[in-house]
Symmetry: C2
Subunit: 137 residues, 2 copies
Amino acid sequence: MYTIGDLSRRTGVKIPTIRYYEQMGLLAAPERTEGNQRRYEKRALERLAFVRHARDLGLSIEAIRDLLALSEHPERPCGEADRIATEHLASVREKIAQLRKLEHELKRIVACHGDHTIGDCYVIRALADHSLCGNEH
Amino acid sequence: MYTIGDLSRRTGVKIPTIRYYEQMGLLAAPERTEGNQRRYEKRALERLAFVRHARDLGLSIEAIRDLLALSEHPERPCGEADRIATEHLASVREKIAQLRKLEHELKRIVACHGDHTIGDCYVIRALADHSLCGNEH
DNA sequence: GGAAGCTCTCTAGTCTCTAGAGCTTTATAT
DNA sequence: ATATAAAGCTCTAGAGACTAGAGAGCTTCC
């Protein structure tokens, strides 16, 4: 039996966040003591670890809810779970591509090195004038 | 003179967002008609383009406010503007590195291709068991 | 049995918008 | 000159995923 604080320490998920996950339906409402405090079993710890891991990977609460629902029907085909993960992989790749563009642009922008005054600072000019960009976004 | 709708069309920034930027102090409150509608000058258009561009690059509203404040004192040295952009470049690079890790992990996870049942689906197992990850995060 | 430390609920705040209700103004067409 | 359509106004609330704080009530340990 774990207290909510135990769960928090073991998973690194903050206490209010654990309660929030319960509210969002990612964790089952656990038993309570006579004094109304939550007491968790080991399964809850594993489930929270799952949720945390999935959030770390950037899956939305909704996607996680879907995966959890699926995992409760282990007899069904898992094409759906695969689809969720694949879709997410695509969105991660897109984000990477976008950030790479930004990296290039910022690298070009960071070029005044503090030895000018703002009047001719490239940072300001580049931000003001999109046409200096070289790529569209 | 532009209406708020003109500004929106020309910059691609939605109307409520323009009003929000005004509220946040990124845009000066423009003149109003007798009927209380906003009428903008060309400078406002340029400024909005600056803000939009900076937001596209992922700069926070606060960072943009700082840059704008700086740009109003063109006689000062621009080391500060450079610092803001450089700092942001570092954070973009960090995000890219993180997302790359996620990409690898998801790629490994997406491996069950719908030809199993969920009971032995790698997606679910990998998310449940962090130790399958191969890297820490 | 008393103090320290945990936990409870509830409310409100974060950030950057976005959407809608209900109303007023402006522009265009006749 | 007037009718109507399109655009604008303010204000409120919602999104997503938490986070923080108030004020009260439990548990544990010496």
